[in-house]
Symmetry: D2
Subunit: 346 residues, 4 copies
Amino acid sequence: MLNVGIVGGTGYTGVELLRLLINHSQVNVKVITSRSEEGVAVADIYHSLRGHCDLRFSTPDIDTLASCDVVFFATPHGVAHQLVPALYERGVKIIDLSADFRLKDAQLWAQWYGQPHGCESLLPEAVYGLPEVNREQIASAQLVACPGCYPTATQLGFLPLIESNLVDTQYLIANAASGVSGAGRQASVGTLHAEVSDSFKAYAASGHRHLPEIEQGLRLAQPAGSEPAQLTFVPHLLPMIRGIHTTLYAKLKDTSVNLQALYEKRYSKETFVDVMPEGSHPQTRTVKSSNMCRLAVTRPQGGDTVVVMSVIDNLTKGASGQAVQNMNIMCGFDESEGLNHLGLLP
Amino acid sequence: MLNVGIVGGTGYTGVELLRLLINHSQVNVKVITSRSEEGVAVADIYHSLRGHCDLRFSTPDIDTLASCDVVFFATPHGVAHQLVPALYERGVKIIDLSADFRLKDAQLWAQWYGQPHGCESLLPEAVYGLPEVNREQIASAQLVACPGCYPTATQLGFLPLIESNLVDTQYLIANAASGVSGAGRQASVGTLHAEVSDSFKAYAASGHRHLPEIEQGLRLAQPAGSEPAQLTFVPHLLPMIRGIHTTLYAKLKDTSVNLQALYEKRYSKETFVDVMPEGSHPQTRTVKSSNMCRLAVTRPQGGDTVVVMSVIDNLTKGASGQAVQNMNIMCGFDESEGLNHLGLLP
Amino acid sequence: MLNVGIVGGTGYTGVELLRLLINHSQVNVKVITSRSEEGVAVADIYHSLRGHCDLRFSTPDIDTLASCDVVFFATPHGVAHQLVPALYERGVKIIDLSADFRLKDAQLWAQWYGQPHGCESLLPEAVYGLPEVNREQIASAQLVACPGCYPTATQLGFLPLIESNLVDTQYLIANAASGVSGAGRQASVGTLHAEVSDSFKAYAASGHRHLPEIEQGLRLAQPAGSEPAQLTFVPHLLPMIRGIHTTLYAKLKDTSVNLQALYEKRYSKETFVDVMPEGSHPQTRTVKSSNMCRLAVTRPQGGDTVVVMSVIDNLTKGASGQAVQNMNIMCGFDESEGLNHLGLLP
Amino acid sequence: MLNVGIVGGTGYTGVELLRLLINHSQVNVKVITSRSEEGVAVADIYHSLRGHCDLRFSTPDIDTLASCDVVFFATPHGVAHQLVPALYERGVKIIDLSADFRLKDAQLWAQWYGQPHGCESLLPEAVYGLPEVNREQIASAQLVACPGCYPTATQLGFLPLIESNLVDTQYLIANAASGVSGAGRQASVGTLHAEVSDSFKAYAASGHRHLPEIEQGLRLAQPAGSEPAQLTFVPHLLPMIRGIHTTLYAKLKDTSVNLQALYEKRYSKETFVDVMPEGSHPQTRTVKSSNMCRLAVTRPQGGDTVVVMSVIDNLTKGASGQAVQNMNIMCGFDESEGLNHLGLLP
């Protein structure tokens, strides 16, 4: 059994990690940390775990964490910068769900996150944990930076078009919408039920932190020598708990391509990407609690605009599920171990 | 007092019309029809009207309807085609909330609605009832075709850009989302609570009936001689009852324009269009139950893509409220009579 | 025009007061206070008020408030205790939406609210503002304590039974459920959308502050010499914004009574209580945004248990609407002035 | 591997059965029937099953069903009456999720379901499938009638009190609330999102079909010679998909009993009943997608009224999960096989 630690377990990605890891046949969750809830039983905060989890939150301790084979970070940005180096040195495998190691450019990170990058030295070692792109590097990585939720849905939706150089990359649009669990479990007026329910709005239209991450991913996927992709990314807040839906728009350079075949071929070997038949509209509820990304592609009125729809569960494929998928790859388990359960519907 | 009739009163636009007209100081609702609910008290179906409405549904009768000063149609498409001519002939003012007279091109209508246009002869008389564009023609019209919900939000969002010829009209994108009341009050599996709640999806991505209506409006707004505007329009279904949010994308031909000033000026005299300050994100809940369209415009990262966000209540400004606004204009009342109440929040 | 002040205007009862008072024909809202939002435009917090309200929040100032004819308190408990005496002395009419003057027994108040009662001297002057019980005293009162939301729905449901001495008052049960707006607009984890949505729970089953208030009201309604009524009151949290539903259970001492006639007679002259026909089930959505309390009464299987269902909008009849109703009575206006709009449905 | 058939697989209990059975290590789902969807791929209706289920709906055929080891009925009432006898004769184990064999009294069944009982002869063989009461009989049964959703939550909540003869059984109250999935997947106006969302109501207050089932269960649990228990049962409709919450009220005959200890002892060996600590309030979301029933018991203000709160997922412990639990018992598998996954939260 693999001994696993979780740093920062009180948030929604923390409880989702526990849901998946407790049912994982190869894993023993040994420690889960939280400064604010030190000493509290995990199951007292998350009653769904009653009877399945005897852990108590503890203050992060490097020695304890270093005794684990794998440590997950489910922390706000900046925390992993501080704790990862010591663990890395001691050979622990690290899977960071936060934004700390996603951007390769420390300056860019500092600009979007409003503070200096706290661990530039490990940036070259960090592998971006999108298995559908980086499976081989993940397998041999010691430090994996799990993609953000929007970036996962958006990149998986755009990749076949970008890799094949089929669209005008200077005018890409990602209209995205997320359930409110993406905002975390912090007390705040803006995410109260009475503020969010029965309403819909865009936010951060002028610039969201996931934008540079998505652009980085798209640019890496472009054929060498291409003009760097430019994305307009507008996220929206949905009156629901789980689920991300992105609607992607791009202008085709060549309308003769068979988009359906392109997408099906690109993801034919991917367990966690499902290309739906032509004419489909993926619903977020079909991936609720599952690690699946479900896609559909269409060309309205046969014109030169391609529309891609992509859905994930933001807490699963968009966070903790993908983290477990990365762990499976890093540790040589079956990639879908612990992730094979069916989505909850309705 | 104006005597008013409503044809097809059992749906959500019907009860919304009643909500507004019963509180309207100049109006007496004389008759409301429904074939299926003939004889049933309106307040027995809509308990919110108990004590405020003594009407019973009756079978549509031309003589009774012709005794009204104004008749509203809140019917499925095709019905108004049949009943409007007789009423028109007898001088009744007609406000049609259905799609029957929105498109000027009968062939186009037949193509999108899957049946021949049933009343081509009155098409030249019908005025498209978007007051912010056609106020003068509405004032003298006898037959007004109220815009659809998506077309209202989308046109009001795009108009300042289109009229000023500021954007590439060959690549306009409208990403729209609506509450489920837009689908009406018919029994159907697809709009059950257990199907819609806690989920989000696009629908009709390959072509929605509101597309030609929006394109017609945008093209009429273009400067003479322009290449006709081309729109990609993708509607989505929100897990909530009321509200439409459209996120509009266009490529600026000239980035030196002051978009905020442009929008504020365009709508400075409009009671029911509110241009929010720069950096705002309109929420659908801020227009719930009100006739307001709330807009914001931004240019992410100062680039050449303009993003417009536009929200309305689909049953009010998107249907019954706008119908009452049109009635006020046609009858010489204050345009905001009966529409001055504040939106419900939270 | 009546000059009106609002103390504590940033919460949901504050914005609901504004919604109602701005549309009230006899009222001018002169001042609205908030320490935390001092200087901020009200419409910047509540966008639904944009264009309808030019007020800015100010720090509470006795002289300014004393220049109003009526001052509403929409504050947490304890605040009115501090500010009311000075205003009372200067002859201002005061309508307190908080719990400060609801209980006649200062010791009981101290016990349930965990702090000494701050203004015992005015308790004898305070009139409990349930118009269906105390209309005459309200008309001549200078200080009115508006009932809580649960107490309004529960008392209106029980009163006909209690006043007529028809049930065993030693075993009354009120199973109540409220939308989350009842918890206010404070940042808190427990009322986040991701915590409340798609779930249901009881809370404060061992004792809620509204229990002594309800018992006080029921006991005052009992015939002289009765053994004081005993209530079990269990509130629940609904995954929705507005609305309270109470399901009341009592054991009939005499099953020959015509309950329907009893209820209809009791409320025959009440504008804001609607007794539905036998067999009805009131829905909270039928009173959304309205000041109505809608009731139904039944005796399952013709047994000796009576079940009463009672719904209100917790922010309207359960708070701000009832406050305006009280103001109308205190100021000699028509009791339904500003409250005659129809509920929003769907 | 056990070969399993499902009759009536298009509803929500059908898809929930598939979710659980596909992940069950000992089961192969061989056939699933639906007359209306004959020939349609199951995964085309329930996209969450894409990639995990190759079955197509077929018309029910006795020979095919008889080739299964176990057949589940997830049908409307009346259907199992017709098909069960032939399968029973051929030795197939039958687990009926419908109401057909729940009531022991055929006359009572006929009275509540409005049609004659169609299979009285097998009533003596049918075992009521509440494992916490009937585990042994279930183990040897060939025909198991799975309890209804409300009856499961209500009986598990009341049983410790009833079995111990601690309360006045002539005045039991069950105030219950269910998510809308309990109403099934039929097209109907009453369960549209726009009708159900953002609202709450009681229904069937004068008598619901689950009442006689609950009373039957409570009476069987009473000590011999007791006066038969009398229940008032009022169900309510929650604006959410999954979850049942019952709030139970009874009058204690003896207030010296330690209720917490009583409940903990009664369920100490039950895997799927979790008695929470004193002062807890179970939330439906803590059992979402899981087979757990979570309980709390309290005595408000130390009086003689006991309040029990009980939550289940109506589609899991309230239907398909309990059916799988019964299958495990009938087939000698570990009782929690296939049911060990953690609930989904948030």
